[in-house]
């Protein structure tokens, strides 16, 4: 094993790690924000909206993320330049970079998977609690904010922690569309130094540590949440 490349690429690796963490946090945030309405309309929304949400979840969960990513980056990316006037618009610098496409694709993916989780979570909150909240004089939005959503999140918190790990494990795909995140930097090192294993092993080790940290942090929060009352 030869590790003499490590000091040379140390800063680049740190940069890659930073991009990876950014991707995880941003995409988990966007995805979660979209997942709540996606789950909610399937439980309580009008039929047509529920069907759209269900279709969205089915498509996202039924196709590989790699294909979604390429479809969005290469597919949409090749259509945008043909739209007249778009090169002069303020969006053009963003449409030319790879990063926004990755954020978009990963956020959609998180939204699809977590949306399905949230549908089950919302459906799992006992009806009596919602009726009680309503009887207390809360409006529909207050019921959602103070009772329905917290109770739903409480029930599926371990699953959400698992989804966060899955999001981390999905980020290396971004390297296939030229983003220099952790895995991308590793690939770069392999090409520069002709070392086959060492960079991969190092990257794998970093992912193991990151997964461990996510699991521990989420477990800490899980223990601080009051246990859901058994029905």
């Amino acid at each position: 094993m030869v590790w003499d490349w490590l000091p040379v690429y140390f800063e680049q690796l740190l940069g890659g790690l930073w991009v990876t963490l950014q991707l995880v946090v941003i995409c988990a945030g966007f995805g979660m924000a979209a997942a709540i309405p996606i789950g909610l309309v399937q439980v309580t929304g009008p039929k047509w909206l529920a069907n759209i949400a269900l279709g969205f979840c089915t498509v996202i969960r039924g196709t590989p993320l790699l294909i979604q990513l390429w479809l969005i980056y290469y597919g949409l990316g090749s259509v945008f330049p043909s739209i007249p006037g778009i090169r002069e618009s303020v969006f053009w610098p963003y449409l030319r970079a790879a990063y926004p496409y990755a954020v978009f694709a990963f956020s959609l993916s998180v939204a699809g998977y977590v949306g399905e989780v949230m549908r089950g979570a919302f459906a799992g909150v006992p009806k009596g609690e919602l009726e009680a909240a309503h009887a207390m004089g809360m409006g529909p939005f207050t019921v959602l904010r103070r009772v329905w959503l917290p109770r739903a999140l409480q029930n599926v918190f371990p699953t959400l922690a698992g989804e966060l790990v899955l999001t981390l494990k999905a980020t290396p795909l971004a390297a296939t569309i030229t983003i220099q995140e952790l895995f991308g930097v590793g690939t770069q090192i392999r090409q520069d130094t002709y070392r086959v294993y060492e960079p991969l092993l190092l990257i794998a080790g970093i992912y193991i540590v990151l997964t461990g940290i996510i699991v521990l942090v989420m477990r800490y929060f899980e223990n601080r949440i009051p246990r859901p009352a058994s029905v």
Partner: protein, 246 residues
């Protein structure tokens, strides 16, 4: 995009036939990897429950590490290390180096990854079988092997089906990752088709539709299977969290 639909025709210059062949390879690789995963998973689960401390520790490391590292990294790592391992064995035997069939390599690599998840699913299912059944089997004088085959396997199936079904859906999608090492499955040929015709949107949508169809047909068949092996008790939710992958 619509005026280039003729590119999906089955015979050249259309790429439809190539894509369908890629889908066929994808299904083949997925089936193979799933089979390998089941074998590893069954052996791993038995080892984790009945094995000694050394075996249990090794299996624990295997399942933990595999499930913590991104599949893409694992595929590259296993692909290259497997290749050089086989070649050094061949060198040791005195025969020449071999070029490994990319389909076989894909099956091996994905199967090894699947094995870690399958181990956890089957282990949980085995633990869900009431202890009394196992004890009764031993009390009848069955050997451990006979107990596993006659009692454990049939009674754990209802508990294992949801988790195993989930793993099938995951492995069909994970085959797409083989595109990074170059294979002949759907994702790889789609990228070739898209690259050489410059019709990215059309071909990636076509591939997505094919993958979606595979998932939907699988889901339909799984539902039928689940209805057949409905669990006796309602404790089968335990598999829900062991599976992963996008």
């Amino acid at each position: 995009m619509w005026d280039s639909l003729h590119l999906l025709a089955f015979s050249p210059p259309g790429w439809g036939g190539v894509l369908l062949k890629g889908l066929f390879v994808t299904v083949f690789v997925a089936l193979g990897a799933y089979g390998v995963g089941l074998l590893i998973g069954f052996a791993g689960a038995v080892g984790k429950i009945h094995g000694g401390p050394v075996l249990r520790t090794i299996l624990e490391i295997y399942t933990t590490l595999i499930r913590a590292v991104p599949e893409l990294v694992l595929i590259l790592l296993l692909f290259y290390s497997g290749q050089s391992l086989i070649n050094s064995i061949m060198d040791g035997l005195g025969s020449g180096r071999v070029d490994i069939n990319p389909i076989a390599a894909g099956i091996g690599v994905l199967g090894f990854v699947q094995g870690a998840y399958t181990t956890e699913v089957i282990r949980a299912a085995m633990l869900a079988v009431p202890k009394g059944q196992v004890e009764a089997a031993f009390a009848y004088g069955m050997s451990r092997g006979k107990m596993l085959w006659r009692i454990m396997v049939p009674s754990m199936i209802p508990f294992a089906i949801p988790g195993l079904a989930n793993l099938w859906l995951i492995v069909t999608k994970d085959t797409a990752l083989l595109a990074v090492v170059g294979s002949s499955e759907l994702a790889t040929v789609t990228r070739q088709a898209a690259g050489s015709t410059r019709n990215y949107l059309l071909f990636f949508i076509a591939a997505a539709v094919l993958y979606l169809m595979l998932s939907l047909v699988s889901t339909y068949l799984i539902r039928k299977l689940e209805r057949r092996y409905r669990p006796v008790s309602r404790t089968s939710k335990l598999n829900a969290q062991t599976a992963g992958g996008r």
